[in-house]
């Protein structure tokens, strides 16, 4: 196990209305087996004891699945490792003496709450518009009543793996949420269960996405690169197709 020392430039902002700025901290000795968030824990323990408010950051499962953590590290959401959430990024990927610039996920639709924490409730608002199959509990057919080809189920799961962390929005020059929305649209459009509401869903979710101030996709692929779950940009193509199909061919409003 190796010990490294880092310089951390961290965005500090007390609230949404206040002015924020970078503040520089020395990390102190960090073992390379630590996770990135454990490195922040160590810093925060020191800050608390010195009477300074610790750096606020979102995190929960620390297994890369809840989607709660995420900051921009040296310009990259979730840091330099591919397909890795911030909580699963380990310090062995950094060198002694490195300087790390740590910022929140920035976007018009993600209002800053404090330090590295942003409000991503816009994602919930988009899901509420149609990111579901409208079945009530009970009265559903036997689970094996509708066979689904393995390939289709796997493709749907590839899309459904999205953890809703918001890295795609933070990475996009247009702050577009189309990878997030495309993933949900694809997941349900691919499955037979999603067919009855296919058009309505595409129209409603896109409308909400626009309303909330997310930008449009410019095919730059930054989102795909930043996505810790490797959600493919082909889901955005499918979203466009679903939207066009619904807008031109559907009888729904």
């Amino acid at each position: 196990m190796t010990i490294i020392h880092l310089t951390l430039k961290i965005w500090r902002q007390t609230g949404p209305e206040s002015k924020g700025s970078f503040k520089t901290y020395e990390s102190g000795p960090i073992t390379t087996a630590m996770s990135f968030l454990e490195m922040l824990d160590v810093l925060n323990e020191r800050l608390i004891l010195s009477g300074e408010e610790p750096v606020a950051f979102d995190h929960d499962c620390r297994e890369g699945i809840c989607g709660m953590c995420g900051s921009v590290i040296n310009g990259t959401p979730h840091g330099p490792e591919k397909k890795t959430t911030l909580c699963q990024l380990h310090m062995r990927h950094f060198q002694d003496g490195d300087t790390l610039v740590i910022e929140p996920f920035r976007s018009r639709a993600f209002k800053l709450v404090k330090d590295l924490i942003v409000d991503r409730s816009a994602f919930d608002a988009i899901i509420a518009e149609g990111g579901y199959v409208s079945v009530n509990t009970g009265g559903t057919p036997d689970a094996n009543a509708i066979p689904i080809p393995t390939f289709t189920a796997e493709q749907a799961l590839d899309a459904a793996e999205c953890i809703g962390c918001g890295a795609c929005v933070a990475a996009c020059p247009n702050a577009s949420a189309m990878l997030f929305v495309g993933a949900k649209i694809s997941h349900l459009a691919l499955l037979p269960q999603g067919q009855p509401e296919r058009s309505k869903r595409a129209l409603a979710m896109v409308k909400k996405m626009d309303e909330l101030g997310f930008g449009n996709c410019g095919n730059e692929k930054y989102c795909e690169k930043a996505c810790p779950k490797g959600i493919s940009i082909s889901n955005i193509a499918r979203l466009n197709r679903e939207f066009m199909r619904a807008a031109f061919c559907s009888v729904e409003e």
Partner: protein
Amino acid sequence: MQLNHRIPSGPLTEKWDRFRFETKLINPANKRKFEIIVVGAGLAGASASATLGELGYNVNTFCIQDSPRRGHSIAAQGGINAAKNYQNDGDSIWRLFYDTIKGGDFRAREANVYRLAQISNQIIDQCVAQGVPFAREYGGLLANRSFGGAQVSRTFYARGQTGQQLLLGAYSAMMRQVKAGKVTLHPRSEMMDLVVINGQARGIVTRNLITGAIESYAADAVVLATGGYGNAYYLSTNAMASNVTATWRAYKRGAAFANPCFVQIHPTCIPVHGTYQSKLTLMSESLRNDGRVWVPTRTGDKRPPAEIPEAERDYYLEKKYPSFGNLVPRDVASRNAKEQCDQGKGVGDTGLAVYLDFSEAINRLGEVAIRRKYGNLFDMYEKITGQDPVKEPMTIYPAVHYTMGGLWVDYHLMSTVPGLFVLGEANFSDHGANRLGASALMQGLADGYFVLPATISSHFAESSLPPITTSHPAFTEAMDTTKGRIQRLLSINGKRTPDDFHRELGLLLWDYCGMARNEAGLKLALGRLPDLKEKFWQDLKVTGSGADLNQTLERAGRVADFIEFAEIMILDALSRQESCGCHFREESQTGEHEAKRMDDKYSYVSAWQYQGEGQTPKLHKEHLVFENIQLSQRSYT
């Protein structure tokens, strides 16, 4: 306090039907007159919120995360059990029921577990209809795998992220009700107290985690789905924010806490690597289907695994348990790993690990096939440890994972406080002294989708619920208590952080109330708690104020509750002088070092009742009656 389990009469197989027929219903038009509070938005909370909203009730749902899609159910990897018998391998509702009772070492209620097995099939139907992309066979039908402790393939799964897919299904169903106006969400809200009026649960006090505002909400019933208390040990596989606060506050307002000493220690986790470690990561036990567990035969053998010849490897699980081998239940696998490490045969830097080796399976099936099955788990392991399990065996060690104990509930899932219902891991109901793999998802969804929505109407129909608003003095009192406590935490200004205290508590519990317990150790730990509590309230340091987002303050409040809670955990472990399931009292073991139950003395659910500050809680016993199965000594040899 009376523990009335309210199990319906009649044959086991007819109880749930009989209950649903005999229970009083609420007219559809009247349902909208009832307000329900749901605390927690994991599988149980989200599925309950969705279903109650669909039925027409008005629901307010609270969670501590920024979005209800993040409850820790999301991290469940392996799968969900159901008695579909799609594989035609001899499964049935009765077999799932029997396996669950036996797996729990005969410390769960027959009626609850049978109902769970019955409902398991409806859950799968429901989830598929929602669009949960379960794994499928080439013909398009659902795939199943066998899972720890089961000899049939009854586990449905979605790669290694079944919990995520099920939770997103429940979350989506709930968001549909948000859109419909039946569910109102309160994310980043932490329940601080339960409000009890005229003996009924009528509301909660919360802290808005962004503004710090102390708020109160009134309702006709309160539903807790706030998960387990595994984080009492500091290190566990739970999410960082998982806590006991909601259930502990309810306990202090009169809800009995059942079987708090039943804590499951999962055998396949990534070992601890340093004192700064913040949490432990589970590796799904599905890995034990193809991985073989071993240690060197010689103590203190520090050679790298590749240099240890076959003859000097001890595949201790296969040797001791020939018919189950590496698939023995979790508690058995965990205890055996500890036993090997205690004998000095542990591997890795700390000597607190055993190998989980895939080389035999790779030779037999090929690397491609093994990667297809476990690829994401291998990646996860490599990400954390920097080692590739295809090239060298994984190192694993047990970690605190799930708590079978929880608030006591009756057949209706109602606690000893009328109007307070408890679902999922937060209650004690279905897993006895040990939970089988892939059964937590099943129970969370059974409680939320099917049980509570059927039982809550009888509470509304049979109780007198006078209109109440938050201006009632009970709300003012609870809010003042909460504010006073927060003020106290902020004003200590000592020298130790909440995490520092939490770590101390965790080590104490792990050492003396962990995988193996004995009277002397438990008494020692119990004796240290008052001192720890005193130090906490004298030397704690919390920065910032209570008037905005303050994560240190949040943690301090949770740690304070864990310290208090630890007392009933240890008292429970002390009072249960038998071994059963995960609760291993060293004084009570068989010749082969297996857990030895004492059915004549301990065939009961322990339920602890709060007696006031500084008073020893009172133990109540609900005796378990087994009319349908024969109790046997668990044997996996």
